[in-house]
Amino acid sequence: MAQWILKLAQRLLLLTALAIVGALLCATMVRFAPGYGVDERDLDFQLSQSSRDAIRSEHQLSGGLLHYYGSYIAGLFHGNLGTSAFLQRPVAGLLKERAPLTARAVLFGLLTAWIVASALSLVTLRWQTWAVEYSATALTGFLIALPTAVVALLCMYLRAPVFLGIAVITLPKLFRYQHNILAQAHTRPFVLAARARGVSRSRILFCHVIPVAWHPLAALLGVSASMAIGAAIPMEALSDSPGVGQLAWLAAINRDLPLLTSITLFVTLLTIGANFLAGSMQESQS
């Protein structure tokens, strides 16, 4: 038990360190991005020098990079993620408002993609005929060749919910990974032995293949979460869904760098958290 708690604490520490490193990297990119700290008001010659100095200090340009890091992290610990330059609203409030919508879409999208991909993988392994195999490969091959933005447009055209689009984008990659993992487990010697002894195909699949493939499948959860979060950005941006994905796109289009930094931190935490959960699940099973 103590060992498990120690392991969990180590993982949580690593999670926090990775998130902070991610945030600092993003803050560094923002700090050195061309045009950082440029404010239209700075060009107004009617303003006095002290007013211009005040504007410049708003952007924290006076200190060096370490000072910038310090103030950024101090702000983070106080829950201050800054103010969006484009929307003129606190970033924390914006994230709080939009995160549930994205989380719901990603969760339902993932769930749908997992159910359909698992069903397809099981069907192709259970009935190993060329017709089933080719149909599944053709379907996923076609879906994989569609750009995410085109799927988003199709969803908008068909008035389909955002989560369905996320599922369509995640499904083909997920199917290929799942199919490969299950097919590999299917070639193991004990499966061959079971087949030689006349055990039914369904029994082999559910009693011998899936229990063996369970660990790598659990690890796929983290990867699929990352894919789904990535898919949420164009989906929300093009189908005008007011989630974090649309916010990220707006921040990018309007070069709202404080907003972009905080969204990066948020996405880093979310994906690392998903990977952490998947890793913990895998470990608890073993």
Binding site: A145, T148, L153, I233, L238, A252
Partner: protein, 271 residues
């Protein structure tokens, strides 16, 4: 000849034809991709304009062939950049081991944990957005190349690590070969199939990512065409429904990617 072989041959021929179309774009059309026939906006296909014109009166066929050049020439360039980075870092990590390996793998894990599209959008936004079209192409594909290496690195690292412990490298060391000799005569030739597989796998991924970035307005800028920004026109559903030939860029894109999947299926298996 098996059906699978025939299909692969057909896909190869299609890819060659599409590549040829892009590379020799000037031979297939005598219009400029930016020339606007102001009196002919949204026209149907005709002898003068094989695929009609867009909303600004630009010849759609011309824009597709020049867009093919942009997408199909620059995606391999970005793939080459990503593969070189993956080969260098993965090779160093796999062959040297120790703390360097740990640092490289930790940074790879961090990069892999973030969605590629999100990182690309964030990085592209940090660069100026109102740049000239040529610069936007370079920026888009350089960013793609600089960000798209982590998955390839993992594969190269695993192959290099296996090679480090192999008998023939041990023998080369025992025979007194210098590290540079081992690298160029033993390691790189052995890893070449892995590098090639990673290169071919990255191309369709970068074509797709460029298309999505350009559709979001963060990729190749107008008036320079690319498959992505040509698809931006399809956002207007009523115009697309009235002029279905506007979907030709999508058909070409999907066809190319499906052909890539069939032709380089073996590379994927190898990787």
């Amino acid at each position: 000849m098996t059906a699978q072989r025939m299909l692969r041959l057909l896909c190869r021929a299609t890819l060659l034809a599409i590549f040829g179309l892009g590379l020799f774009a000037g031979s297939f059309t005598h219009y400029s991709y930016a020339h606007q026939f102001r009196e002919l906006p949204n026209t149907a296909p005709s002898a003068a304009h094989w695929l009609g014109t867009d909303g600004l009166g630009r010849d759609l066929f011309t824009r597709i062939v020049y867009g093919t050049r942009v997408s199909l020439v620059l995606a391999p360039t970005a793939a080459l950049l990503a593969t070189v980075i993956a080969a260098l870092l993965g090779g160093i990590a796999g062959l040297r081991g120790g703390w360097l390996e740990k640092i490289i793998l930790a940074s790879t894990d961090l990069s892999m944990s973030l969605p590629l599209l999100f990182v690309l959008i964030a990085l592209r936004a940090l660069l100026p957005l109102d740049v000239n079209p040529i610069l936007s192409v370079v920026a888009t594909f350089v960013v793609l190349g600089l960000v798209g290496w982590p998955a390839s690195l993992r594969v190269v690292w695993a192959a290099a690590k296996n090679l480090r412990d192999s008998d023939h490298i041990l023998l080369a060391r025992a025979l007194g070969y210098r590290p540079s000799q081992i690298l160029f005569r033993q390691v790189i030739p052995c890893l070449r199939p892995v590098f090639l597989a990673q290169f071919w796998i990255s191309i369709p991924l970068f074509i797709l990512t460029e298309a999505t970035l350009s559709m979001l307005g963060l990729g190749v800028m107008e008036p320079l065409p690319s498959w992505g920004n040509l698809l931006r026109g399809s956002e207007d559903f009523s115009a697309t429904a009235a002029n279905p030939w506007r979907l030709v860029p999508l058909v070409v894109l999907v066809l190319t990617l499906i052909c890539f999947q069939f032709v380089f299926h073996r590379s994927e298996e190898l990787a």
